[in-house]
């Protein structure tokens, strides 16, 4: 009860703040633009408030949906369902998204989430964040999960400050979240934008994110098709170089990490001390994948499972 009323309150709050941000004129930016998204907020309009907050008990949980972190052995299955549902939703919407940072590194090693990870990072392009904000903000997506009674509800929430393109907006570097409303775990979604400042200095392919990561267009596009946690995923074009640049070459070779050892034969990160049961249990079958609940998708096209 408390949960649903807080969600309702949140809706009200969000629509209010979304209205407040979409103020620059009477007409919405997205409906009047002729080319693709390029909206410049002057630097005087840098937001002073943080939109997405972390819970008081753990920085990777949304405090609106949980009051305590999950037990250790439940984290990875929850994250796995989180990314599977996110990727499947984006693919059925037709929105372009790809994995990055730690998630890309874990994909590189064995196409599975690192057993010690408790967050996931994905990116989308700037036109896509505008598109999602316009049509999919605050949409709930219900999925039936094998072994989960009643399935889970996921929420796509866009940070209304996504229209602020400046890196100076340090409070709102995350442009959107895909939230598991059952546990409070979430995926950080950041938009990759054309870096006009660097482009003016002659770097014609410069891209940036508000979290101060910089890329070149040809490092990310064209995206590759691969698999992560047994579902199709898009991978940035130069994945090896991106990982080398971000984490150094040793991240691609060091088999001892965070108390885990990479078993070259089983291709699994095994806990150096505890038993490996937890990871062996995580073999996936096709029937283990989450499926979108048939009666709860007014906004999403039904062409993918």
């Amino acid at each position: 009860m408390r949960f649903s009323s807080s969600l309702l309150g949140l809706y009200g709050l969000l629509s209010a703040s979304a209205l407040a941000v979409a103020q620059p004129g009477d007409t919405d930016f997205m409906s009047v633009r002729e080319n693709l998204a390029k909206d410049y907020e002057s630097e005087g309009q840098i937001p002073t408030e943080k939109y997405f907050t972390e819970s008081s008990f753990h920085y990777h949980y949304d405090g609106r949906f949980a009051d305590q972190p999950l037990p250790d052995d439940k984290v990875t299955p929850h994250l796995s369902a989180l990314i599977q549902t996110y990727l499947s939703t984006m693919s059925s919407i037709g929105a372009e998204t790809w994995i990055m940072h730690g998630t890309l590194l874990s994909w590189w090693w064995n196409q599975k989430i690192f057993p010690w990870d408790n967050d996931l990072d994905v990116q989308i392009s700037e036109p896509t964040i505008h598109f999602l904000a316009e049509f999919y903000n605050m949409t709930e997506h219900h999925f039936d999960l094998p072994g989960v009674d009643g399935g889970r509800k996921y929420l796509l929430e866009i940070n209304p400050n996504y229209v602020v393109r400046s890196e100076k907006d340090r409070l709102n570097v995350i442009d959107a979240r895909w939230i598991d409303t059952s546990s409070g775990l979430f995926i950080d979604i950041t938009a990759v934008r054309k870096d006009e400042a660097r482009r003016q200095r002659g770097e014609t392919e410069a891209l940036m994110c508000k979290d101060r990561h910089h890329y070149q267009e040809s490092q990310i596009f064209p995206l590759r098709d691969s698999y992560f946690e047994d579902v199709p995923v898009k991978i940035p074009y130069s994945y090896t170089w991106l990982l080398e640049e971000e984490y150094g070459p040793r991240a691609l070779t060091n088999k001892n990490f965070q108390g885990h050892n990479f078993n070259e034969d089983s291709k699994i990160w095994e806990h150096t001390k505890r038993s490996v049961k937890r990871f062996l249990r995580r073999g996936w079958r096709m029937s283990d994948l989450p499926t979108r609940s048939a009666n709860n998708q007014p906004l999403v096209r039904m062409d993918a499972s």
């Binding site: 998204a37 090693w109 036109p127 054309k194 040809s218 064209p222 170089w241 040793r250 060091n254």
Partner: protein, 420 residues
């Protein structure tokens, strides 16, 4: 002493002006044996003192004079010059050639030493290789293919008397499209010749884009205004146009080009493998990361992680060293150690240009930028020769207007006359 002195004085007018005999010494001479008068007075005499140091001075002067005269001698000057130049050459040879080579050799040996693997926590290639859709990772050459030709490619093939009826087979080292002015023409030519190819980074990009267009159903309609996708950069827009211009047949042929083409055993070359950019030494072909195989130039000495950067140790040098170590370790135990080694034929690195080593053959000689088009011709019995044709112009500068020109960079023709 007076007489002694005066004798001295008389005998040697040189000293006359400087001796000052006293009257008391004259008296003493009369009352004492003469021997008593004999002393080494000259030693204490300040007059002689100036003289006593003069022999050294004169010696010095002599040395300096001798030195000066030697230096002044033309022959000496010549020798000094010659030795100086020799020294400089020796030093330069050491500092610029020998020392870096020894250092590089040491670094390579250390990098390839299995003992250093544990030190750095592991080498590249232990991950579970990701699977990609529509990407042929590895393919073994089917030795029954048929081929004939245009401008540079034509010329080159004529020069090597390429004839498919004789069982010759052409293998292209990749980047056959999106570089020269007539990408589709090169693909058609290669198809007509029944050539083999490997996937270069340019094919990779174009095919990925085309694949995306096919799955999103935008191959014919265009997707410039798709609000769910990123806005293509100028470069990507051109690539998209090229991807659209390819026919289904051309695309299918290109898609069948593997990242790694295993040619198989060639006498005198061991196992021959063709890739676009390079291979990480010590990693099985099946475990080579496809994106790096299409783009690598250098390699990290500690971790063996390849990089597309031009700064650092060339992957080919390391691969060559790795194979030569393998070869020498097999010498005693194996009848034909060369058959156990791998020779890599690659393109990609136009900046370094033609680079032929024992186990690595870099053939990109920059045709598109007005360089040369190179073919490595391998005949029966493994006899190798290089054939080059000059490329007419810098296509990279004006490839917009010159659509009719047919060119291709970087090919490898393999004239493998079938034994059967």
């Amino acid at each position: 002493m007076a007489s002694y002195d005066s004798d001295h004085e008389l005998g040697d007018p040189y000293y006359h002006a400087t001796t000052q005999p006293s009257s008391s010494s004259r008296f003493a001479r009369l009352s004492r044996p003469l021997i008593d008068s004999v002393r080494n007075g000259w030693q204490s005499s300040p007059a002689y003192r100036s003289l006593s140091s003069s022999p050294e001075n004169s010696k010095h002067t002599g040395c300096v004079q001798i030195a000066l005269s030697i230096i002044a001698a033309p022959r000496f000057r010549r020798y000094v010059l010659v030795y100086f130049v020799l020294f400089l050459l020796g030093w330069a040879g050491w500092a610029m050639v020998l020392y870096p080579r020894l250092e590089e050799r040491g670094a390579l040996l250390h990098a390839l030493d299995p003992a250093s693997k544990a030190e750095v926590g592991g080498w590249f290639g232990s991950n579970s290789l990701p699977q990609f859709d529509d990407l042929t990772h590895i393919r073994t050459l089917d030795p029954s293919l048929v081929p004939v030709a245009r401008i540079e490619v034509d010329q080159l093939l004529k020069k090597i008397e390429f004839s498919t009826t004789d069982g010759d087979h052409l293998i292209l080292t990749g980047d056959i499209i999106n570089k020269g002015p007539d990408s589709a023409g090169v693909v058609d030519l290669a198809r007509k010749l029944g050539a083999s190819c490997v996937r270069g980074n340019h094919e990779d990009r174009i095919l990925l884009l085309r694949h995306e267009m096919v799955t999103m159903n935008t191959l014919l309609t265009g997707d410039e205004k798709n609000v769910k996708l990123h806005e293509p950069s100028e470069k990507e827009a051109k690539e998209r146009a090229l991807a659209r211009s390819l026919s289904d047949d051309q695309a299918r042929w290109l898609e069948a080009c593997p990242v790694i083409l295993n040619v198989g055993l060639v006498q005198g070359m061991g196992q021959v493998v063709v890739v676009h950019a390079g291979l990480v030494p010590g990693v099985d072909l099946e475990k080579q990361d496809p994106s790096t195989v299409m783009t690598m130039r250098t390699i990290d000495l500690n971790t063996h992680v390849p990089s597309e950067s031009t700064e650092g140790m060339s992957w080919a040098k390391m691969f060559d060293k790795h194979q030569s170590i393998l070869h020498s370790s097999l010498k005693s135990s194996h009848a034909d150690p060369r058959s156990q080694t791998t020779t890599v034929i690659y393109g990609h690195d136009a900046k370094t240009g033609l680079k032929i080593r024992t186990y690595t053959k870099g053939l990109d000689s920059g045709c598109v930028k007005g360089g040369k088009l190179t073919a490595l011709v391998i005949e029966d019995g493994g006899k190798q020769s290089l054939v080059q044709v000059s490329c007419k112009q810098d296509y990279s500068k004006d490839n917009k207007e010159k659509k009719e020109k047919k060119d291709k960079k970087d090919k490898k023709a393999k004239k493998a006359k079938k034994d059967d």
